[in-house]
Amino acid sequence: MPTPVASIQNVTKVFNPGKPNRVVALEDIHLEIQAGEFISLIGPSGCGKSTLLRLIGDLTSPSTGAILINGKSAQQARLDRDYGMVFQAATLYEWRNVLQNIELPLEIMKYPKEERIARAEKMLRLVELEKFGKLFPWQLSGGMQQRVSIARALAFEPKLLLMDEPFGALDEMTRERMQMEVQRIWRETGITIVFVTHGIPEAVFLSTRVVLLSPRPGRIAEVIPVDLPKERTDETREDPRFFEIANHLREKLREIERTQRN
């Protein structure tokens, strides 16, 4: 078996240890992610989805356990620029136009100017915004801004794309279009994606595996492989298998919420 892109071994994350407001956000998390996978993290809010993603991306560190990214520590992976990140808010810099925003990581990573421009333009084509490069963020719709932020995350060809509810703030129509877009980008680039969501259809439609988390403390309740054809289309949403998996997830989620309330 090849080295997994991400190997999460017995990870626990405790916030404010030893204080009255101590929170066990994650407990005993074990997960291996292989190259080219599309993993969705789903679960009730507060169950530690963002925390798990942030642990993988070395934005915070585990209390116990280990995280290996391509066989390295998460910190080393971050220093090697292995991560692309997309957050719920596009977080574009208002003083940079669209192209300059996409160039931002390339500037920091000291790419030569010509290559920066070439890459930024290529990324803009990838997210189908080639006509909008000179506009400023405020001139774009929310969906377009999020596409720019995806382009920015992919510009330096990271090995792992981490997305935290990237479409949470978008309307239903835009969201479905964005799902198709991410699907296409994932297939075209072969990148590994970890995707936090609380949309069940979204998780099933996009993923090769869905990781269901239960809260307090956050644990992996179930890992559900999605055995749908790799290329997802509008027909996928009508596939009986799609409904089957979605219904299974829905039931599991209800179960978790029920045990939580009791």
């Binding site: 934005l59 808010a89 506009l135 001139q139 719709s141």
Partner: protein, 303 residues
């Protein structure tokens, strides 16, 4: 997008309509102020004689209030007329004297502004990155601003000598504080997600400062610089008083002050020129602010 994108394509005048409207309002207010001024003199000033007003009107005000006498509140035409009079016997017209003095004072003010701006920025940037330093130093920085400048100015003159450089330092003393406070605030203004984004790129502190924190702080810093621009002129004028420097506006004010009983309009003329100098400096910084921030939504929205 279309709506907002079109805003950027409109003509210069259409785009700046709010700006022109603002100038119009200022102008109307100025006219109103002048009307009120002369109105007070009409109703409660000294008698109007045909030889002391350009309209050759004789008029006896209904009341006499001493605050509105010709000594305390000269007629506007006397003040504007004073610009054309000789500033001293057989000397150049007052307007020329004041223009020369303005240039002199502006040199001090501008140097103080640059000095204070840089010092303010460096302090703010240090404080933003070193919380302990901020906690330790901020009380002293605040204290420095509560000491009256009139107490500090003579000391600075004694330490640094009697020339315009000392006055610039006094002016800097008045200007650095708003810049420090705003820089600190501005450098800390980016939202945590934006900072995490930089962390995910393994960006150095230095790069995060220049590519994220500084651009995010610019609106704050530029607002502070507008305050500092006017403060620097005040600082320069005040700095000239104990320094014995007589070439600037402070010197002129001191000089005309002592002749106020005989020629009040000259002091008023000097005051108007000082105010104009401050306003022009403020407008220049505002123009730079507009140019620097013109692509940002927030600015276009709030203008």
């Amino acid at each position: 997008m279309s709506n907002s994108a079109k805003t950027a394509e409109k003509s210069f005048f259409a785009r700046n309509a709010p700006l022109f409207r603002r100038f119009l309002v200022s102008f109307i207010l100025l006219i109103g102020l002048m009307v009120v001024w002369e109105g007070l003199k009409w109703f409660a000033g000294d008698p109007w004689r045909p030889d002391n007003n350009p309209f050759k009107i004789a008029h006896q005000p209904f009341w006499r209030v001493k605050y509105f006498s010709d000594l305390n509140l000269p007629h506007l035409w006397d003040i504007f007329g004073a610009f054309a009079d000789e500033s001293r016997r057989n000397g150049p017209p007052l307007i020329q004297t004041l223009a020369v003095a303005s240039v002199y004072t502006f040199r001090e003010a501008f140097s103080g502004f640059v000095l204070g701006g840089l010092l303010g920025f460096v302090l703010g940037a240090l404080f933003a990155h070193l919380t302990l330093l901020e906690r330790g130093c901020m009380p002293y920085v605040v204290a420095s601003q509560t000491v009256p400048i009139l107490a500090i100015a003579p000391m600075i003159i004694i330490w640094l000598g009697q020339d315009w450089g000392s006055v610039a330092v006094i002016s800097a003393y008045l200007t650095f504080f708003p810049v420090t406070v705003s820089t600190l605030r501005g450098l800390r203004s980016p939202n945590p997600v934006a900072v995490e984004l930089m962390r995910s790129y393994a960006s150095t502190t230095w790069e995060t400062l220049w590519k994220l924190r500084f651009p995010a702080a610019l609106p704050y810093i530029l607002t502070a610089l507008k305050v500092s621009a006017t403060a620097s002129v005040v600082g320069a004028i005040i700095g000239e008083l104990p320094s014995g420097i007589r070439e600037g506006l402070g010197g002129a004010i001191l000089n005309f002050n002592s002749y106020y009983a005989t020629k009040p309009s000259r002091l008023w003329a000097a005051i108007i020129v000082s105010a104009l100098l401050g306003i022009l400096f403020f407008l220049a910084v505002s123009l730079i602010e507009y140019w620097v921030l013109k692509n940002r939504h927030r600015v276009i929205e709030s203008r």
